[in-house]
Each structure stands twice: as C-alpha cells, then as structure tokens.
C-alpha cells in the first residue's frame, strides 16, 4: 500500500467483511457485477495487503460491500479514497 489513507480504507474493509456476511468469492462476484475489472485472485491478494489495486478498483470493492450494507439496512459504510483525500488524482 502506498500510504496511510489506503491502509485505513483496507483496514475498514477487512473489518466490514464479516459484518457483511460475505465470503471473498461472494464479494468478488458483487464487485464484478458493478464493473470491477480485477480478477478474484487479485482482489483477494489486495484484501491481504499483498497486492495494490488502482484507486477506482479499491473504491469499487468498498462500494460492493456498501451495497451489501444497503441490502441489510446497515448504516455503516466503508470510506472511499475520494472521501479520504479528495485532492488525490486517479491512479
């Protein structure tokens, strides 16, 4: 990961996963459904902090979980990179 903000997003994502009740495979399917372009293996490696994803792809993983929270009526949202640092340009 290139900086602390990215770390924070990943940390919250990992905390949210059990709360969302999704397996990594299920999360990946949802991420693919909303337009994600990384493979399941890459996304899994990202969750283990072993692989970096571009900003938009990271936000899509976060959004896939957030859509699950919308389904479950849970108010919690994983933050987006743009929330954390709005000045940051697309990687």
């Amino acid at each position: 990961m290139d900086n602390d903000e990215d770390d924070l997003q990943l940390k919250q994502l990992r905390q949210a996963l059990p709360l969302a009740g999704l397996t990594v495979g299920e999360l990946w399917l949802r991420y693919f459904g909303i337009g994600g372009s990384a493979g399941q293996f890459e996304m899994e490696a990202y969750l283990h902090a072993a692989h970096a994803l571009p900003t938009l792809e990271r936000d899509l993983v976060a959004h896939a979980i957030n859509e699950r929270f919308m389904d479950l009526d849970i108010d919690f949202r994983v933050p987006y990179s743009t929330d954390i640092d709005p000045g940051k340009t697309e990687t």
């Binding site: 459904g33 909303i34 337009g35 493979g39 938009l56 936000d59 959004h63 919308m70 949202r77 987006y80």
Partner: protein, 239 residues
C-alpha cells in the same frame, strides 16, 4: 448469490457467460442501439449493425426501419459500404454519396432515401463471424473527424457485447445463479458505452464518472446505470 467455486474467476470468463445467457442477447442489443443512436449529438443519424456468417449478411439491429432498408439494398447487390467494412475489416467513409465514384450504383439505388453521408466501421465479432456498425445521415457535415473516432471507439467497446449477443441458441446459464451479477454488469457496460458517446471520453473516464456518482450518492452502481440508460432513451424519444 451463487456458491463461489474454489477456482478464481476472471472477468473475461464471466463476461463470456453473460453473452451466452439466454434472453440477454436481445436486451443487450437494444442497449447497444440506444448508445449508437446517441452518436449524432442531437442530429439524426441512422444506425444499424450488420452481421455476416457463412456469406449471409443480416441486419441484426437497426435504430430505424430506414437503416435496415439501406443495409438490405447492399445485400441485394452483394456490395456496398457496410459489406466492404465488414468483409475487409476497414472503416469506409463516404462524406458525400453523390460525389463518390465507387458507389454510384448504390447511390442511385438509395437516392430516394435522401441519405448523403455514410460511415461503416468494422466490429470484431469472433471467429467465423464478421460485423460492422453502420451510420447513415441525410445532413452532410455531421460526421466530422471527432464523430468518426467516436464511432470507432464505440465499435471497439461493443465488440465483446456483440459477440455475446450473437450466441442466440446457447443453453441457459447452468448451475450457480450468477444471473443478477451478470445482468448488473451488462447494464453497467451499456451505461459506460452511452457515457463514452455522450461525453466523448475514454472507457476508463466514463466508468470512473459512473462509479463516482454512485459512491457520492450512496446508490447502487446498477441503479445509476439504469438511470443513464433511461435518460439516453428519453433523449432519443424512445420513452
């Protein structure tokens, strides 16, 4: 939700499944045409998609009946701009049909249609199949260099979707119920194509725009995609 297997799926494999799934083909084709119809930036441009398999050309989709007629006159001659684009896999652009020496017979044949400018762009459609995206305009000057590159970019972006849409008789998606994700993905891809055309931007920029508006609005990406497609339909007078 489907039960995820042990294997790691790639987006390409899943998108191929999407293309194979029953009933999806017509739906996607319709979306593609909505996007194609948006190419004229307000000015009327007729669009169609010709597919040729084993030497038999067929208009698989057209924005208006006129476009189908214009295609079919070429099939009758077994020659014409869209057949040339398709068979030689190159862009054919005729800025002023009346002044073109290569297409005199065809020009005479379709004179009553009032069409003056024709653009035909090949679409990669898989082995054994050739396809082209055709645009016809009655007003000269609409198809400038920007228009041509937008159509070419669009033809590139619909290649995969078209390949999927063409597999009409394949069995329904077997096993796991992936249909909701696949359907969502199809909508997202179609909406991205519409944004690319409307904003004349790259696929990455269009997708970033769609994603960010869903993130900031706390809405589903699929719902935003549906809104984009509805707006495009409305703008085209289809709703």
């Amino acid at each position: 939700m489907g039960t995820p297997g042990q294997d790691s799926r790639s987006p390409d494999e899943l998108q191929d499944l999407l293309l194979d799934s029953e009933g999806f083909s017509d739906f996607m084709l319709e979306l593609v045409l909505i996007a194609a119809a948006g190419l004229g930036s307000g000015k009327p441009v007729l669009c169609s998609i010709t597919v040729e398999r084993e030497g038999f050309p067929l208009t698989v989709a057209s924005s208006e009946l006129d476009a189908m007629f214009l295609d079919e006159r070429q099939y009758a001659f077994d020659n014409g701009p869209c057949l040339t684009a398709l068979r030689q896999q190159r862009t054919v652009f005729i800025p002023e049909l009346a002044e073109s020496r290569n297409w005199e017979d065809y020009a005479r044949e379709i004179a009553s249609s009032g069409v003056r400018t024709i653009l035909a762009v090949p679409v990669e459609a898989g082995s054994g199949t050739q396809a082209a995206l055709n645009c016809y305009s009655r007003e000269p000057g609409i198809m400038d260099a920007t228009f041509i590159s937008a159509v070419q970019a669009f033809a590139g972006s619909i290649s995969r979707i078209l390949r999927l849409a063409l597999r009409f008789h394949l069995p329904a998606l077997a096993g796991a119920d992936l249909s909701s994700e696949l359907r969502a993905r199809g909508l997202v891809d179609a909406a991205v194509a519409v944004i690319m055309i409307e904003d004349k931007c790259s696929r990455a920029e269009a997708f970033a725009q769609l994603g960010r508006s869903a993130f900031s609005g706390n809405v589903r990406v699929g719902d935003r995609a549906i809104e984009v497609l509805r707006e495009a339909r409305r703008a085209q007078g289809m709703e």
